[in-house]
Amino acid sequence: MRMKVISIPEYCLGCGLCEIYCAAQHDGFNGNVLKAYKTGQPDPRSSLIRSRPVSWFNTCMQCEEAPCLNACISGAIKRDRDGIIYIDENRCVQCYTCVMVCPYGHARPSSRSGRIMKCDLCRDSEGMPACVKHCPNGALKLWQGGEEQ
Amino acid sequence: MSLREGEVRIPSGCAIAGILNRSGQRFDGTPIITCIANMHQRSNGLGGGFAAYGIYPEYPEQYALHVYYDHDKAREECEYYLNHNFNIALQGPVPLRRQARITNAPIIWRYFALPKEGRLYQEEIDPEEFVFRSVMYVNSCIPGAYVASSGQNMAAFKGVGYPEDIGEFFRLDDYAAYLWTAHGRFPTNTPGWWGGAHPFTLLNWSVVHNGEISSYSTNRRFLEMYGYTCSLQTDTEVITYAVDLLMRRHGLNLEDTVDVISAPMWVDIENQRQERLRRVYASLLLNGPFSIIVATSNGLMAINDRIKLRPLVAAEKGDCLYVSSEEGAIKVVEPSPDRIWSPGGGEPVIGLLYGKEQLIEPDAKIICAQSA
């Protein structure tokens, strides 16, 4: 069962809430924006490409034949039972090979911590991915094997 | 003194019953009294009444006006008005029998009257409309006088008391009719007024009704557009005027009338005619729980509201058709009927004298295309 978040530029307002809630949903902040931004080192997994007239959220396409998974020299990039491709942080040696091979330029090093940022569809928390849940204009959809959520 | 019908709207549950001999063979009031008496606990002694068709064969043309007077002065004034407008073939008090439980009965007289030709010509209306307007006048403009019934070769016998006592009081065993309907009332306060009892009559119509019409105000304000003044504020009055408007003045047949007052749900409507009926006469849809018996000289129709929130049972034995609120009341009169059934929501039970097509012949003026 393949899932991914797709961005609909037509309705994207470029407000950036997706990045904020994405960062707050990871690294142990479990969704608390204030805590993430006031005490922690928040790093959004996907990045919002702000451009005129159309902005879009560069999310992971969870590719079938994932170049990043093939190219990862330490086997840190894995696919879980739900087909979600994620990075096992403590195996990753930050060699940026995945960054080099990702056709969408999605996997990228965080400007703050150098760790590789890659969308894992908020697999550690319940319900919708944080970006889809908090987009004020329905510009992000969880695409699930053919029909959207 | 508590307010009477007309001054206040009195909700009431009750019992209804009706017996028809399709061949027109007449029988006395005992069966109907036995039938309604069996449903004694459905009424609280504050109202009962009967309608009987075919009891005055000797005066078939005349309108048998049964009038209740609170006092003699009202009688004089009313008789003056009647003599001015009608040729009265016979008049006199209605024969009664002292009955212990019936008290403070009004003065009850009856007049066999025909509208004067001159007055008809002057008013340029047909006799039925003339009688209709006269009854409206007496009821609303002559204080202390109330016309209980005004049909041809029929009468309503009603008052305050249990129906079986009213029946005895009016000596119904002396009359012979081919169609009887009865009503036992359970109003929630004590109106001392005989006129407010059921059945409600208008010309040949008589209606007995159990239940309450929650669409009363919608129905009433629609009827007022067509000249009906609902003076009694009772549901029965509104139902009677509705069927009068539909059948007599707009010439709808029985089936169409049922499709208006107990209209099928939009989803169940099959044909264009039903749909249009429901669109045009939307305000005559009777909503809320009810079971009614509408009777005329041609026969009766008993019907439930469309989701059957009130009981109604019907039975047949030879030429006789029985309808009643309870099966027991029928069985006590007719222990082994040929057929007994409970009609569904909005499903009419129609009993007509042999040879009669409709409950009432519509006015000549407005005859609507009667598709099948």
């Binding site: 797709i6 990045s47 490409i49 702000r50 451009s51 560069n58 396409m61 590719c63 079938e64 034949e65 170049p67 093939n70 190219a71 020299i73 330490s74 086997g75 195996r91 040696v93 930050q94 060699c95 940026y96 090979t97 960054v99 080099m100 091979v101 990702c102 056709p103 969408y104 330029g105 999605h106 996997a107 990228r108 090093p109 695409w143 | -």
Partner: protein
């Protein structure tokens, strides 16, 4: 169906995944010559730099092999009897096979330098090499690394991190000759030297003297407690040659990784595969290719027919915090070279007949993905739009729109 895989590297793991993608019940046997399990060779430098942090450098865990029901025999394959389809091992075992995959990878070159046989001189290719160095680390203060290829660089970085003083000797005119151009090499060289490395280019080691002295061609003498030979690798084709398979520099395989013997396949560093840039079959010896080739070989061994799409030379490496990504052809004759520099960032784009044929990005990781794929997919993006891309600043935002349209069309966007 009985599958046997000689070698336990990246290609072997890829092959297991490939086989299991269709054939869930065939039994698979891996012949692990190094007897150290499926570990990732590039990570030995990470292990060397911090043994506790990088204790576990397995490419695939033991549970993985358990789940995939793979039997691992820690022994070296001695001989392949192609007619009876039997392999004889050092430990005397005889293994039959229906399908055999040779994934022996490559082995380090040891240059004919006199004195190279002494114990404080070694190659840096296996986990044991790293463990040996870690063992003597306390006594080592000064190191000479011969060769500035990827292995040499990562070894040097590891030793530098352990506080040793590094000399690097490179025969060519600049460091990382296969990956970088003179300007980019100079740019990196300046960073490494300023971090304390002694980088000597255009020099060769002539003699390694017993008293920890290393003599260069120019006569310069270096003292060293350890010498690392990192002059390159070659495919480990002995077994294949001995079995008379068709071998050039690497084992010759068709698009389905079949060798000249239909029952025998070859994949990974040992095999010659299609380089999309040069349209030649070459030994590219790159980890990402090894996994892809192993996977496809596994599929084809299990009965599928998945041709190899081929790939391009590409590499990404981190050196002292700097990230160097490079892909595509090294030379750009007949093309055009666009460069962009800003402080510690340097980007070189090589463009020929309106296609990006190669790039070198130092500390510009954000745009690396799309650039690599423009090269590998031979996307028709004009030099003008690349110039505009550089002019606006090489972020993802400014990637030429044509790229995204081409990508969406190729990927039938949203369906992959």
């Amino acid at each position: 169906m009985k599958y046997v895989i000689i070698g336990s590297g990246i290609a072997a793991c890829g092959a297991v995944e490939g086989i299991r993608s269709t054939d869930l019940c065939g039994d698979i046997t891996i012949i692990d010559g190094e007897k150290r399990g499926a570990y990732t060779r590039p990570l030995i430098s990470y292990f060397l730099s911090d043994p506790d942090r990088y204790r576990d450098i397995d490419y695939r865990s033991l549970e993985f092999f358990g789940e995939q029901q793979v039997e691992i025999i820690p022994s070296r394959a001695k001989q392949i009897d192609r007619s009876d389809q039997i392999i004889s091992l050092d430990n005397g075992q005889q293994i039959e096979y229906d399908r055999l995959l040779i994934a022996t990878g490559s082995c380090p070159l040891s240059p004919p330098i006199p004195g190279a046989e002494q114990d404080w001189v070694s190659t840096f290719y296996t986990i044991e090499d790293a463990e040996l160095i870690v063992g003597q680390a306390a006594q080592i203060r000064e190191v000479v690394v011969i060769g500035s290829g990827l292995i040499g660089m990562k070894a040097a970085e590891a030793l530098h991190k352990r506080g040793m003083y590094v000399h690097m000797v490179e025969k060519e005119a600049h460091i990382l000759p296969r990956q970088l151009t003179p300007r980019t090499a100079e740019f990196l060289n300046e960073h490494l030297s300023s971090s304390g490395w002694d980088i000597i280019t255009g020099e060769e080691v002539t003699v390694i003297h017993p008293q920890h002295k290393v003599e260069l061609k120019s006569g310069r003498m270096l003292s060293a407690d350890l010498v690392i030979l990192a002059v390159g690798t070659r495919p480990a084709v002995e077994l294949a040659r001995q079995s008379e398979l068709d071998v050039r520099t690497g084992i010759v395989v068709d698009a389905y990784f079949q060798t000249s013997d239909p029952k025998i396949y070859a994949a990974g560093d040992v095999a010659e595969t299609l380089n999309l840039a040069s349209q030649q079959l070459e030994v590219m010896a790159l980890l990402p290719h090894a996994h892809r080739e192993g996977y496809l070989a596994g599929c084809n061994m299990a009965g599928q027919s998945k041709p190899d799409p081929g790939s391009i030379l590409m590499n990404s490496v981190r050196l002292l915090g700097w990230n160097i990504c490079s892909a595509g052809a090294a030379d750009y004759r007949g093309g055009e070279l666009l460069t962009w520099q800003y402080q510690e960032q340097l980007l070189e784009l090589k463009i020929r007949d309106n296609r990006l044929i190669g790039y070198i990005a130092i500390n510009v990781p954000e745009a690396a993905g799309p650039l690599t794929n423009s090269v590998s997919r031979k996307m028709a993006i004009s030099a003008a739009s690349w110039k505009e891309f550089l002019a606006d600043g090489p972020q993802l935002l400014n990637i030429p729109p044509v790229y995204w349209q081409e990508l969406r069309r190729a990927e039938a966007y949203g369906s992959n």
